[in-house]
Symmetry: C2
Subunit: 194 residues, 2 copies
């Protein structure tokens, strides 16, 4: 039976994006954001949506740069922590014992311990109600060599990213079993003859 | 060891968004999009990023409305198929034997067999290189009653959504084990006394 529910910002799954920026005096900061996704293929772009009240909003506006760091499962505590407290009050790199490394391509730090990071240059800013959408061009990728697959790209089963189950479960989840090959399993459905 | 890779639009995980629209003569269509995510909390908004060449792009521009349907694991074949062929050539609802139902709130069809759907009104359009970003306000949710959790919101373990492992694995994956409670597990990291 179908139920008709009040609108909520619930997408399943939602990613766990750890946004790295430099603040005043080049202080590195990270925050946890779940609102965002890939925005284009050429050039590769990603959107991250952030409230104006945050330090990250201030930092991206100032530096026109940020990183999107993907934590692996074993860093779920650290990923949650950097969403619970503000960089205006806490030094989140110190508290989590994570290590900021300066990106060679953009003026933003990435998280050394995380397996996968997108280095982004701000190309557009869009106001969307409660949040500001920052659209960044992905100008480089930093990845641990041991998470790369045969094609030299990050393999999701090696990266072991977490996802946010949103407000229905309020949990983080790992990646489960393969359900099918993309751009392939659909071919089992017969196309009408043309 | 860190590897520095050429830029690619790879986010882990990426969602599998089945976009429902009406075309000319009210013909219902669905396509598979992986580029998008939640854009704001108030009002709840979502972005979906679509190439101009697609029928979906034409349909959203015309109707200012779309649905975002979340397939459960058992519909992985259908989800892949509607990304392999164009609605300009194929009747994808007929080919997949899925059922279009008209949304009561927006001029777009949702997929009856899928457990979870967001009904969206177009509120903004942003050009991002190869893709057009459509930002929709989520004005309603249609969900199967048996995927709702205690709080009457969709539970990710009951919805059983799939995700796209992107170009490193070219696979779809299910949701795995719970890794921790959101807004909670981070409290295990001691905040410095203030």
């Amino acid at each position: 039976m179908k139920k008709f529910l009040a609108p909520q910002p619930i997408l399943l799954p939602s990613p766990v994006l750890i946004i790295g920026t430099y603040g005043d005096n080049d202080a590195p900061n990270i925050m946890n954001a779940a609102w965002g996704g890939i925005a284009a293929s050429k050039p590769p772009c990603i959107s991250v949506c952030i409230r104006e009240a945050t330090l990250t909003h201030h930092n991206i506006t100032k530096n026109k740069a940020f990183t999107v760091n993907i934590p692996s499962e074993k860093y779920v505590k650290q990923a949650d922590y950097v969403g619970l407290v503000s960089g205006k009050e806490y030094n989140k790199f110190e508290d989590t014992k994570l290590t900021p490394e300066k990106s060679a391509l953009v003026n933003a730090p990435y998280v050394k311990e995380f397996p996968y990071c997108l280095e982004c240059k701000l190309v557009n800013t869009v106001n969307v109600g409660s949040h500001t959408m920052f659209i960044g061009e992905i100008v480089g990728i930093v990845a641990d060599s041991n998470v790369l697959g045969k094609n030299n790209l990050p393999d999701i089963k090696k990266v072991k990213p977490i996802m946010f189950g949103s407000f229905g479960s309020r949990g983080y989840y790992g990646v489960g079993k393969k359900a099918g090959d993309a751009f392939a399993v659909g071919n089992k459905i017969k196309k009408p003859g043309k």
